[in-house]
Amino acid sequence: MGEPSVTATGGFMAEPEMAPPGQFMGEPSADGRFGEFGGMFVPETLVPACQELDRAFRSAWGDPGFRGELDRLLRDYAGRPSPMTECPNLSEELGVRILLKREDLNHTGSHKINNVLGQALLAQRMGKTSLVAETGAGQHGVATATAAALFGMDCVVHMGTVDIARQELNVFRMRLLGAEVRAAETGSRTLKDAVNEALRHWVAAADTTHYCLGSVMGPHPYPWMVREFQRVVGEEARRQCAEVLGGGVPEVVTAAVGGGSNAAGIFAGFANTSAELVGVEPAGGAAIGRAVPGIVHGSRSYLMQDEWGQVLEAESISAGLDYPGVGPEHSHLAATGRATYEQVTDAEVIEAFSLLSRTEGIICALECAHALAWVSRARADLAGRTVLLNLSGRGDKDVDQMMGILG
């Protein structure tokens, strides 16, 4: 910081200590950067596909016809707007007023459908006939398979064999929806390796196939495009908070961070307000916690790696957060101090998962239980404050795994 940096247009500007809120979560620079993070680090063979996608997204996003069609799908098919729920019992127990943004109530059970409907509609507009996706917990895979069924497209989902074993239910759902699930058997056999396989698949099929990436990661334009498709979460929540809080905003907005799409979506509604933004990573997959930049899967961002730059395997109870990297915009939000990122352990997550079930009658996904685990741990500091938490998904997929743990 403090060093002059070259802007996208080649001019020089002094880097401010901390940019005013208005500068956050807008369009990235022409070279796909959020500050010093992002970019388009892909083989030459994928450059034309990424550039085509960038052009197509810009055109669609500026087209009221496309926006109207997507809004209609989100409303009539996915069930938006999702409600925001006050949690009196939980709030009393923790001494913190908690508002839940209920992405668990969307069709297919998580926020992933918001992004997938946007990308599938875009793929159709681009004349693509097939979708390929990666998945960790299977929620993004299920959402993609769902959209493919709806749009009459072929669908292949790559999934690590470790995740196939722990998310059997979602594997079956994808197959029921007509998708082919391909086992990724390399490396750590989790989300990271599923992304590798999806990229390899896409290189060979980009003329007919759209890569429906599930989070705010990957090469430009994905981090930006996926955040824009998830922005609806934050915009709705902003209006819902205004109603409940007499025109105000919550003091804290929090969400779990894997690649970071549900967090980016809800943060986007509050980036230019006084709300504190807090992302929560699993302790075993804390890319931002370690804060070492690296380049993998198309962008420069914080990345868990060894002393030689080999990417490390993340280790988390939650398949959806079992990823050693993080979306580049989160690295930027962390580096500038606009958002902070906390880490929680698997044990804290299990406790939060049970707590929400017991107090509010909501069985949530293990991913968003991370955000609640942080609120629970920080409750002394948060006492008397209002926290908006993105409840990104429902827990059906995790019940089997939890049965093994909790008995």
């Binding site: 680090f41 892909v42 030459e44 063979t45 490396g187 990271k192 590798n196 060979a204 030689w308 730059g309």
Partner: protein, 274 residues
Amino acid sequence: MTGGTGPGGADGWGRLEAALRGRRRAGGKCLVPYLTGGLGDDWLETICAVAAAGADAIEIGVPFSDPVMDGTTIQEANDRALSEGATPQSILAAVSGAAADIGVPTAVMTYVNIAHHMGYERFASSLAAVGVSGCVLPDLPLEELGEWAGCADAAGVETVLLAAPTAPDERLPRICARSRGFVYGVGLMGITGVREELAAGATRTAARLKAVTDRPVLVGVGVSTPAQAAEVCEVADGAVVGSAIVTRMLEGAGPEGVAALVAEFRAALDAAHS
């Protein structure tokens, strides 16, 4: 033995490009085998044997945990080398000690994070210090090249750029102008791996590149047999052969076994284009 790698080799070209231009000037076709560094105990002897069997230059793979441009063969080679403890440093140190025995120019092929993590400047100067002439970073396209290319140029390392079959016409001259050593025409839309037949687009890509550059044009990815190499070299100045050779390494063919395959490639290129 010239240890130097900087510009200012013969005719002002880097050592890698000078060697390939030399082969072409003599009426021959260039053969550049790819071998995974750190794979097995005898990988360095294998490189020396391959050089003696008629390679014009050698690409040495520095394994990376997430090689997205590679198919199952090179993935397996990467994983095995990594589990045997290979690091960028161990590979470069070994190459440094064997430069004289290798005798032909070498280029390192790895993914950008390996260079980024060490720091572009340090990585480039490490290559130069051990006598490696060139570098291929397949996930660093033209748009992202600037920072690395500056460091590589300053250290005298030749950065070889890839050109894809789907690249629009306006892009190819820019790739050729910025590439050093040679231009790496990608033989097909896909990842590395052995294929039954040469992709139809391979020679077309070579022809499109030859039309816009005087730099040596080599085609790689999907060039798997001596016959396929000869076929693509009807247009291209040479071929890069990876998975076919790495398959032999994985089978444990040893230096002689791998060199025998390289000699077959050499013979096919010499016979078809003498």
